[in-house]
């Protein structure tokens, strides 16, 4: 699981990240009792009862690009964030996963791109439903904000605009 930078882009603004990552090897009894925590699908499947019983703090999922959504889709309402990991810049699976979450499962909360996330992917990620970006730490996060403006016109239906160009007014 990649280390999360302290600052992220969310909804076109740079903000501090409030989420802590709980790694897979943490025992269920050592899960922090409060605070916002994020964990893998495996961890969720293994510790679902325990995690659901927490009274303080929000829950979030960290997906790998191969994770199937049906493993957790019945519980989507429990999560305040879904992070999708990009193990490499060129691994495009996460784009499909984000669109499915937004357009098929109607997940309304934060979808965050983490991992090998650079300015040059941001516009497409945004179009596919990501609204938060953990820009790789060695890169200038302020510069990445410019990517929202790369294009002002698009052709396809996607999560940012459910109508393709031929159905727009």
């Amino acid at each position: 699981m990649p280390k999360q930078p302290n600052k992220i882009i969310k909804d076109r603004k740079i903000i501090d990240d409030s989420w802590s990552v709980v790694s897979d090897d943490v025992d269920k009894n050592d899960i922090p009792a409060d605070g916002d925590i994020i964990f893998s699908v495996d961890f969720w499947v293994k510790n679902q009862k325990h995690l659901e019983s927490r009274s303080n703090g929000r829950l979030g999922l960290m997906l790998e690009s191969t994770d199937e959504i049906n493993l957790f889709s019945d519980n989507l309402g429990l999560f305040d964030i879904i992070s999708i990991n990009f193990p490499a810049f060129a691994d495009g699976r996460g784009y499909s996963v984000a669109r499915l979450l937004r357009e098929r499962y109607h997940f309304q909360k934060e979808i965050r791109a983490v991992g090998d996330v650079l300015r040059d992917q941001l516009f497409y990620m945004y179009r596919c439903g990501f609204n938060a970006f953990a820009i790789r730490e060695d890169r200038c996060i302020e510069d990445a904000l410019n990517a929202y403006n790369d294009f002002t016109v698009t052709y396809q239906a996607a999560s940012d605009n459910l109508n393709p160009i031929y159905r727009r007014a």
Binding site: F89, A90, D91, G92, R93, Y95, S96, V97, R99, R104, L118, D120, Q121, F123, Y124, M125, R127, C128, C140, D150, F151, T152, V153, T154, Y155, Q156, A157, A158, L162, N163, P164, I165, Y166, R167
Partner: protein
């Protein structure tokens, strides 16, 4: 021809600015080589053996004369005065400087041209029949559908980082002139029993290391469902195509591993969700796309032109050219003319700045200002009046584009090979030239009839050798160039992958081997049979025996 809307132009201008920024950040060290690589590739910019290569897109092979003149200008200003027509109907520049590429793109954008998605692991330029819209044997013009696919696939946000490149071809005719079944997706425009026009969809064709003919997965798709179906295919591929090994990452490997039936099932489950959503094409969108591909103002001309008939019978060279390099046109009084870029000793597909301008002048004069590129690396004037043919032929003779060899053994398709390409195992251009020199007797060439010969310098198969009647592939054996020869590939009436004749040959032996194959054909053919028909009848054995016969026998 499609004309850009203000939206198209805006997207293109914004792309130029984006790429300029990326190139500046790369040159300032803010983007590493590895990070810049997929960005420049999605913009057609490769590293090559000697210099970068810029691949410019000719959407489904169509260009107007303003664009040809711009290409000429770019060849002259930023390159060494020539460019190259590729086997995917694009245009390549072999010697641009990387730092100049943003300027080249800016110039191209002024004539509605670009290099978007001409390489990289994304959806590439959609290709089609170079006789589209004028052929006698088509259901309807495939270009409006190509244009709809172009817009859908351009900067598709979900499919920019696929496991591997993705190529779509659209075929609307009985004879498949676009080799559609060796594409990742082939869209065949068909008419059903009720007379309704729709699409038959094939998936998983391709060349390269694992050459395969695409399998049908949907028999009849309604017109408004084309893009939703493509989106479903791409989504399944993007999510489940292999990413661990680039040689097993094309969709054909996924389709083969799952079986076409299981792949279809996955696609159609996905499609069920998309089919009636906003991606469904509207009647207006289809009509608008079609409105760009209307016939030019054809004149009503007689079917027969006496003067032409007389010239054909009295001028032998012109007669040959007419028979071989021109084709029947849907409109009475017109012909389709193919310019042969296969003059002996000229690298197949190479064209100079001056020649591009001369071609543009001729296209303005005789061809309604439009030119098409073919996947056999030739150019086409789609609408020429019969009465103009003789004058056009004379002009093309002067330019060197009237070699009457279209579809013949010397009309060789050939990748740039070891001369330019960093991937090549072997030279390909000298092989093509040696074969052209051996078969320099035009009467003999005509007697051989329709016969395709294609050369690739490596397994990536840009020369399409697998689907050639005779295919030649450059291979590396312990640092030495060798050539593997195959027979029996074809894409026209049917699609088949050629079979390798046996152990590979040294460069000096290749032409003799080709000659033995031809002799075997000539010795065994029945009256009127083509090369591929004889091969289909006889199989490999007689060829093999002749090629590998001991010298003493």
């Amino acid at each position: 021809m499609y004309i850009y809307s203000e939206h198209d132009q805006k997207i293109l201008d914004e792309r130029v600015a984006q790429f300029r920024g990326q190139t500046e950040r790369w040159s300032a060290g803010d983007l590493t080589e590895d990070e810049y690589l997929p960005l420049r590739l999605q913009n057609g910019l490769y590293e090559q053996r000697h210099a970068p290569l810029l691949r410019v897109c000719a959407p489904y092979g169509n260009m107007n004369t303003q664009q040809l003149r711009k290409l000429a200008h770019i060849a002259r200003t930023y390159d060494k005065g020539y460019c190259h027509i590729t086997t995917r109907t694009n245009i390549q520049f072999n010697w641009p400087a990387i730092k100049e590429v943003p300027n080249i793109l800016e110039e191209l954008a002024t004539v509605q041209m670009h290099a978007i998605q001409t390489s990289g692991n994304c959806i590439r330029n959609t290709t089609t029949d170079h006789f589209a819209g004028v052929a006698l044997d088509e259901v309807e013009d495939p270009r409006p559908w190509c244009e709809l696919v172009r817009q859908w696939s351009t900067f598709h946000p979900e499919f920019a980082y696929l496991p591997r490149k993705f190529k779509i071809a659209v075929c609307a005719s009985t004879e498949d002139r676009s080799a559609s079944l060796v594409h990742d997706v082939a869209i065949h425009i068909v008419k059903n029993d009720a007379g309704k026009v729709g699409f038959k969809i094939f998936v998983g064709g391709g060349l390269g290391r694992t050459p395969l003919v695409a399998a049908p997965i949907h028999e009849f798709l309604n017109q408004e469902d084309l893009l939703s179906y493509l989106e479903a295919i791409l989504r399944v591929y993007n999510r489940y195509g292999r990413r661990d090994n680039k040689y097993k990452a094309r969709i054909k490997i996924l389709v083969k591993a799952l079986t076409p039936a299981a792949f279809k099932k996955q696609v159609e489950e996905e499609w069920a969700h998309l089919k009636d959503g906003p991606i469904k094409l509207t009647a207006e969108a289809i009509a608008e796309s079609k409105s760009y591909f209307q016939d030019p103002d054809y004149e009503n001309l007689p079917a027969e032109n006496e003067e032409l008939k007389q010239k054909i019978s009295t001028d032998r060279a012109f007669g040959n050219w007419y028979r071989i390099n021109t084709h029947a046109h849907k409109k009475q009084g017109y012909r389709i003319v193919t310019l042969s870029m296969k003059k002996t000793a000229v690298a197949p597909g190479d064209v100079s700045d001056q020649q591009l301008e001369d071609i543009a002048d001729l296209a303005d004069q005789y061809g309604y200002g439009e030119v098409r590129a073919t996947h056999d690396q030739n150019l086409v004037f789609s609408d020429v009046k019969q009465a103009d043919l003789f004058n056009l032929w004379q002009a093309l003779e002067k330019l060197g584009f009237a070699t009457a060899n279209i579809g013949m053994i010397t009309d060789i398709t050939c990748c740039p090979g070891g001369h330019y390409c960093a991937l090549a195992n072997a030279q390909s251009i000298p092989i093509a030239e040696a074969i052209q020199r051996r078969f320099d007797d035009l009467d003999y060439v005509y007697d051989l009839g329709e016969l395709s010969l294609k050369v690739s310098g490596c397994m990536n198969a840009c020369g399409h050798h697998h689907v050639s009647n005779i295919g030649i592939l450059g291979v590396d054996k312990k640092g030495k160039e060798y050539y593997q020869v195959s027979i029996g590939g074809t894409t026209r009436q049917k699609s088949a992958i050629g079979r390798i004749v046996g152990p590979s040959f040294e460069r000096t032996d290749v032409v003799d081997v080709i000659e033995k194959i031809i002799q075997t054909f000539v010795d065994n053919r029945h009256e009127g049979e083509t090369f591929i028909q004889v091969y289909d009848r006889l199989g490999m054995m007689p060829y093999k025996e002749r090629i590998y016969a001991k010298a003493t026998q």
